[in-house]
């Protein structure tokens, strides 16, 4: 029982991180109809920037304080994500307005490759550490209930809390601010939003920037857990089934989808894996999403797709 709980908790924590990456996808899709395949590359890029600036800033400015160094690195990485969002809007999206979704998807594939190359050219391609002072010690919970207790990684708990906090902040931003309202208007109908004077281009920059910030947060959490390296891009591939399950346009969907996928992956690996040779984490989420698509093509919380001629 304790083992099951451990696996379940591990799955939930991993799921929270998937949800964080998936959130970036959903934000961009909601506001611009672009299925942003580059989210994974953005996570890697942001994490690389963060890791390297955290290394460089103390050298440049002679700061010894770790917190201050990390903070400046975070701000710089955030600024880079903003420049990136602006450039993407300026150079790519602006020219592809009103194109089909598939064309835009392929454009983001191009952005993915470009960012992968650029990030490693600027920041190097070794394995880097991000150290934002997250505790690494495991703790044991429920000692009294189960023999041996339930092993929980404190780092995961912090990560989950940060992810939850980010979700709350984003929901408030979307629901309560004027910009958030404009974003939702754009998401509903580009043309109508434009006709009442909402500047589409600026909105897109904002959305990509917000997605960049989520990528940065996700990158920091993943990076401090397992180091920043090229394989981080695969995290995004793991997050794709999450949005399929949750629905492309739903923020709660991304979170619940993330949790389901996280738990499903862990439990299937633990209980099903040994019978089929292990390593089924890689495809389990995809097959789960695939089967789910057959019954509910729009995902758990997605909007119903209506086709008109």
């Amino acid at each position: 029982m304790a083992f099951f709980l451990e696996a379940l908790l591990g799955g939930l924590m991993a799921g929270m991180l998937y949800a964080l990456v998936a959130l970036g996808f959903v934000l961009i899709f909601k506001a611009s109809g672009v299925f942003n395949f580059a989210q994974g590359a953005m996570v890697l890029f942001a994490a690389l920037a963060m890791a390297r600036f955290a290394e460089w800033v103390p050298e440049w400015l002679g700061i010894n304080d770790k917190f201050l160094g990390n903070l400046i690195a975070f701000v710089l990485a955030g600024a880079i994500m903003f420049v990136l969002a602006w450039l993407i809007e300026r150079l790519v999206l602006r020219h592809l307005v009103n194109q089909e979704g598939v064309t835009l998807l392929m454009a983001t594939l191009g952005i993915t490759y470009f960012l992968d190359g650029l990030g490693q050219t600027i920041f190097g391609s070794d394995i880097y550490k991000i150290d934002v002072g997250m505790p690494k010690d495991p703790v044991f919970l429920f000692d009294s209930v189960f023999p041996g207790g339930v092993l929980v990684n404190l780092e995961d708990v912090y990560a989950a809390c940060i992810a939850a906090l980010l979700v709350v902040v984003l929901s408030l931003f979307f629901q309560k601010t004027g910009t958030g309202r404009a974003l939702r208007a754009v998401a509903d109908d580009h043309q109508a939003a434009q006709s009442i004077g909402i500047p589409l281009n600026r909105i897109w920059v904002i959305v990509w920037f917000v997605a960049g910030i989520t990528a940065l947060v996700a990158g920091i959490i993943w990076g401090s857990k397992m180091g920043v390296q090229f394989s981080l891009t695969t995290v995004a591939l793991r997050a794709l089934p999450v949005i399929i399950l949750g629905g492309l346009t739903s923020v709660p969907g991304a979170i619940i989808g993330g949790l389901i996928i996280g738990v499903g992956e862990k439990l299937s690996e633990v209980y099903l894996g040994p019978y089929v040779g292990g390593g089924i984490e890689i495809w389990f989420a995809y097959v789960l999403a695939l089967v789910f698509l057959l019954f509910r093509p729009q995902g758990l919380f997605g909007e119903k797709i209506i086709d008109r001629v």
């Binding site: 299925f35 150079l91 790519v92 020219h95 592809l96 194109q99 089909e100 979704g101 598939v102 064309t103 998807l105 392929m106 454009a107 594939l109 191009g110 952005i111 993915t112 490759y113 470009f114 960012l115 992968d116 190359g117 650029l118 490693q120 050219t121 391609s125 591939l237 794709l240 089934p241 949005i243 399929i244 492309l248 089929v276 040779g277 292990g278 390593g279 089924i280 890689i282 495809w283 995809y286 097959v287 999403a289 695939l290 698509l293 057959l294 093509p297 086709d307 008109r308 001629v309």
Partner: protein, 358 residues
């Protein structure tokens, strides 16, 4: 001037419906094919065959298959690498498990199994499309990667996880030198290219295009989406599967699942985008471009660096390659969504009217 159809009267349906309506076109293409069979063997050296020509032929074939699905039927697929892998591994299994299996039948069997797998993973396309389908096809990619790595049966329980074939032989013709491999692949490419061209001109090809342009409207005018989509998946994966089998058997000789990873899928998709979606000719252009560009960059960038006095490492070259690929994809999508094939057809049109542009 160069190129005019004046005086070429079509007096039968047969001549009206030829692939190349203009005689000069027809002769040019026949000359090109003849050159590929007879001329190239004299010109190219072993390195050319191994590094450029054989990969180009096989990847053209694969791009042709992907183009049928993505370009003609509009069903975006990120799992083409998986279908290539199915082709390669199943061809291998048929080849070694059945005594006296002819090589060509084994290759086609690889294509057949790829068809089955492709149709299976195409089933979601009946309910979802576009972006959702792209993710669904990724399922094929990850599942196949896993299966060929973990399930011992596919690799004949080879402890190293890689498989190899040798002593290829078709109709008593031993295919072992690069030249023979080249000719063998060329025959496949020509046959499949002709088949594909005729397929997309026929009724089924028009159904695919109708589905691509607007599937609801197509359904309204009586095209069965189930039949059209699944047939596109079937034909596409068959060709891709045969290409995968050739890639494994002829080009690599021995291979492991990494040869057909997700990068291969992206590469094939890029070929289709750069070459031209919905164009048979475009598949060849795209494959040529993607095969030659890395080789060119590997030669050119260090040379350029030497000239400027900086040494460029291999890592830097590969990163630059990534960036150039990415930028090119975006550039093509913005500037020329129909790819190199469109430039080709524009040039043809201009030559036809030259020197009077109207």
């Amino acid at each position: 001037m160069f190129y005019r159809e004046n005086g070429q009267y079509k007096t039968s349906y047969r001549s009206d419906q030829q692939i190349f309506a203009i005689a000069q076109d027809r002769w040019a293409i026949l000359a090109l094919i003849a050159f590929a069979f007879i001329g190239v063997p004299f010109i190219a050296d072993e390195y050319m065959f191994r590094a450029i020509l054989i990969p180009f032929l096989i990847l053209s074939l694969a791009a042709l298959g992907v183009n049928i699905l993505v370009g003609y039927c509009g069903q975006i697929s990120l799992g083409s690498g998986a279908f290539m892998a199915v082709g390669a591994y199943m061809a291998y299994n048929t080849y070694i498990r059945i005594e006296g299996m002819p090589l060509i039948v084994a290759l086609l069997a690889g294509g057949f199994f790829a068809t089955l797998v492709g149709m299976f993973f195409g089933i979601p396309s009946l309910r979802v499309k576009g972006l959702y389908l792209a993710v669904a096809t990724l399922a094929a990619q990850f599942f196949c990667d896993w299966a060929f790595l973990r399930v011992g049966w596919f690799t004949n329980n080879n402890p190293s996880g890689s498989v190899s074939v040798s002593n290829l032989n078709a109709f008593g013709w031993a295919i072992d030198t690069p030249l023979e491999k080249y000719l063998f692949c060329l025959i496949f490419l020509v046959v499949f290219g002709l088949l594909a061209k005729n397929l997309v001109r026929s009724a089924i090809g028009r159904e695919w295009m109708a589905i691509r342009d607007m599937d609801v409207a197509a359904a309204v005018i009586g095209i069965r989406p189930v039949y059209a989509k699944l047939s596109a998946f079937a034909v596409s994966s068959f060709i891709v599967g045969v290409a995968g089998a050739l890639w494994g058997f002829v080009h690599l000789g021995s291979w492991e699942p990494a040869a057909f990873s997700i990068d291969r899928s992206f590469q094939l998709l890029f070929m289709v985008i750069i070459g031209g979606m919905g164009s048979i000719m475009g598949s060849f252009f795209g494959a040529a471009f993607i095969v030659i560009l890395p080789i060119f960059l590997n030669q050119f960038l260090p040379a350029m660096g030497d000239m400027l006095g900086v040494s460029i490492s291999t890592a830097a070259v590969s990163h630059t390659e990534f960036m150039i690929f990415g930028a090119l994809i975006v550039w093509f999508l913005i500037v020329e969504p129909h790819g190199l094939a469109k430039l080709w057809s524009v040039a043809k049109q201009k030559l036809r009217l030259w020197p009077f542009p109207h």
